[in-house]
Symmetry: C2
Subunit: 136 residues, 2 copies
Amino acid sequence: MTRDCGSVAVQRDEMVEFARNYDPQPMHVDEAAAEESVFGELIASGWFTAALTSRLAVEGFLNDIRNVGGRGTDDLRWPAPVRAGDTLSVTLEVTDAEPAETNPYGLVETAFEATNQHDETVLSMVGLLYVLRREE
Amino acid sequence: MTRDCGSVAVQRDEMVEFARNYDPQPMHVDEAAAEESVFGELIASGWFTAALTSRLAVEGFLNDIRNVGGRGTDDLRWPAPVRAGDTLSVTLEVTDAEPAETNPYGLVETAFEATNQHDETVLSMVGLLYVLRREE
């Protein structure tokens, strides 16, 4: 099962505000420092990219399944920077589903990918979700 | 090398606002639904827990090293729920550091752990950071 979760535009104000609150490193919040950096301008916190990916995944997928809670993620990667004005698109693929150790739950493994408007991958990860199993 | 990155109180308004923006699932944003859930009350988005962990790690560690950017994280887990009013404390340990494929960078592996006021682990992960190497 694969699903297209749609797109979101990266708003500069929201991107910088998020970083001020949760990841106030120079390349995320200090324009002058960012210009001197290898990136040449402000880039998004990776946690902001994860948060935007989450928003699209919830609207496009998680609120349609009986998700009880996340166990975590494996192999979260930010292979390319995200900049203000980028448009991010999220796709996902359910790669595994099995009964969890504890009934009545199942554990669903989902590969998430976020790409920018140049079709570069900016985030990939494997999400592990506990879901309520259908009654037999 | 280990470091204590201090503590942060989980503010209800901030917790719910974050979830409305980035993880609007019922257990994070809908009080009535959360009361019916296995958790019995609203719980934080795991991404909010990661964001708070990031804030403490930046203030307590990342802004002291020459961090160029994050490659990603491995084994991100949320083993216990976070609730409004909790106090989270973050510790980290640098577990590996080696030259990256591309000079002049190094890749630093750091184990992060966030615990609540009952000393339960609420988040653990291994962060992979590119840093500028010291000149020889």
